[in-house]
Assembly symmetry: C2
């Protein structure tokens, strides 16, 4: 059975995925994103994503690179796709990632505003789904053709799927920093006792927690 997975989602020690006052020129609001994602910027995975060579191997690389392992489609919230709010206007916005986004498969963007699909270079197609998270998941599973589906983020989108009991596995990175305020990943997500932590391990830069459904 294909799984619904979350990878490379970073939170602070006090549980925040973003700071207060998220805004156009600061998608993470008042939270130093460079600190939150510091662990990832060191990895070969990240360097490759930027079209560069180099980067560290090791534990962080192992976790980061699972982001693409056997993933056939991605779902993201509208705010992860871009800063435009409300109607799409001239439809010029095509994501943060340039002409060749790092997905190379179908990406379903949750929105209240329908919009024609966009075909990018490298196999990425953006589809805009106004039928809600469960409809998007059905479409993503179909598009994935038997592979798994990644819930890319942001925090609000992951919370929606957690609350609906639709996530099978999550790999969370806990960064060595405190922010004091902001948007939590684990907030009003219902009963999580059906999940267990299958792996908890730290590199010098970050803690990785692998969370899976209980099998017993």
């Amino acid at each position: 059975m294909p799984k619904v997975r979350v990878h490379n989602f970073s939170i602070t020690l006090d549980g925040f995925a973003a700071g207060p006052n998220q805004r156009l020129d600061a998608p993470f609001g008042d939270l130093p994103e460079a600190e939150l994602h510091h662990w990832m910027f060191q990895t070969r995975f990240w360097h490759e994503m930027q079209g560069e060579s180099g980067g560290d191997e090791g534990l962080d690389q192992q976790f980061a690179s699972r982001w693409t392992d056997n993933i056939g489609a991605t779902i993201m919230g509208r705010n992860m796709f871009g800063p435009v709010r409300g109607p799409w206007g001239d439809e010029e916005w095509k994501g943060w990632w340039g002409p060749n986004p790092p997905y190379h498969h179908s990406v379903f963007v949750l929105t209240h505003y329908a919009r024609p699909s966009i075909t990018m270079e490298g196999g990425t197609e953006f589809h805009f789904v106004d039928g809600g998270p469960e409809a998007a998941l059905q479409m993503a599973l179909t598009a994935a053709g038997g592979k798994d589906v990644l819930i890319g983020g942001g925090a609000a989108t992951i919370r929606q799927y957690l609350r609906a009991g639709l996530i099978d596995e999550m790999e969370i990175a806990i960064a060595p920093m405190l922010n004091g305020a902001g948007e939590r990943l684990f907030d009003d997500v219902g009963d999580l006792r059906g999940y267990e932590c299958a792996e908890l391990v730290s590199s010098p830069a970050v803690v990785h927690a692998r969370i899976v459904r209980r099998t017993t």
Copy 2:
């Protein structure tokens, strides 16, 4: 300068120090305390606290045993001292720890109800402070005679001191479990950007985070 420190305070991956519905026969409410403190129960520190031999050495032992290093006095909330609420009644309750509590120094209990001090075996004295957290800290610093002061807990008491900017160092243990709901340690504690994570390391059982004031 003496420091104000927190040690061996355990939270879940989703940030909870206790579950919902805390009550007399379940001080941690609907949260399996044996899972939360599993890492500590394995240590030599814990075995010694029970008057037993044995227990693991290693990373968890190193962190757990700092709970007593250079600590000259302890402050705790009333709910950590016992289940009695409101007036103290017959004053029979003398803490959860039997005739010889593991403190062996002055312990200041925050309460709205004054009560005479109690001298226990082994050097522990319980003092009941109705003048608020800052008054209790002054008394504890005096009693500690140059050593550090431990803020023992629970979560609400630590939050009070964090909010007041009075904590210098915290060692938090993050247990590999999710609870979905309950009482958070880091909730409405104000701006924590004045702290940094000086150490983040995991044993097979738990993650230890050492949080200190920024020096720069």
